[in-house]
Symmetry: C2
Amino acid sequence: MSEQAYLVLVALGEEPRHGYGVVQAVRALSDGQVRLGAGTLYGILDRAVGAGYVEASGEVVVDGRLRRYYRLTPTGLAAVRAETLRLAELAQRARRALGAGPTTGPTTGPTTGLPALGGTS
Amino acid sequence: MSEQAYLVLVALGEEPRHGYGVVQAVRALSDGQVRLGAGTLYGILDRAVGAGYVEASGEVVVDGRLRRYYRLTPTGLAAVRAETLRLAELAQRARRALGAGPTTGPTTGPTTGLPALGGTS
DNA sequence: TCCGCATATGTCGCCGCGCGATATATGTTC
DNA sequence: GAACATATATCGCGCGGCGACATATGCGGA
């Protein structure tokens, strides 16, 4: 499960949402760092529905615009909970493995400024 | 940064390792759930070297077999620490978001913004 | 003796999937 | 009426995960 897909499930775990609402929720959840494109959103949504994690939850028209809602299934909720636990454990193990380094704190202020792992060459 | 790439950096953060050692370390780190294939490993390693996160650390022959060692650079260490912090925060947010169900009760609003004191460190 | 497995390196191609671009439509704001 | 936010959905590019394959040594069992 990709991180984007995970964030979508978390967003739907809070409450049923429509597509555009998921995009906004994910952006908020990730502190504005993850911005889902339309292609990403519907690809993830379709696969999640296929996996039985998400299901359509009805359509509502608000201000003349259609909202197609999705909700997490019990299976999806279990999956996202399990993934959350796995992530938390992984982070904890990583922290232990890396030990307390020189700058253990968040070093708040400047953005990390670290190069991306794929682009720079 | 993918989870596989992250795990490789964590494994190298513990201590310098050779390729096969990284595969074993990642499997251990992920509780046997993530098994790196050769293609995955060297792809990640090459990109990580290109990004300045990892560098070659010498070659040793053990039992007639060549071991090519890699080590994390200071930049790579900073990156993996930052990613660890990001992951931990994400998991914590997710737990809070999932903890308060959709319509659990009258307090459907903001999930009591009280900061979690003394988080798991 | 020889077969298979673990150790150890590396390459190649498939394809899943993230993601920007694009299309379509309505309400609001300036 | 131009620009933007809201709201939907599709298409194709390309990165990257990952299995398959190639190659080589040491070891243990049949």
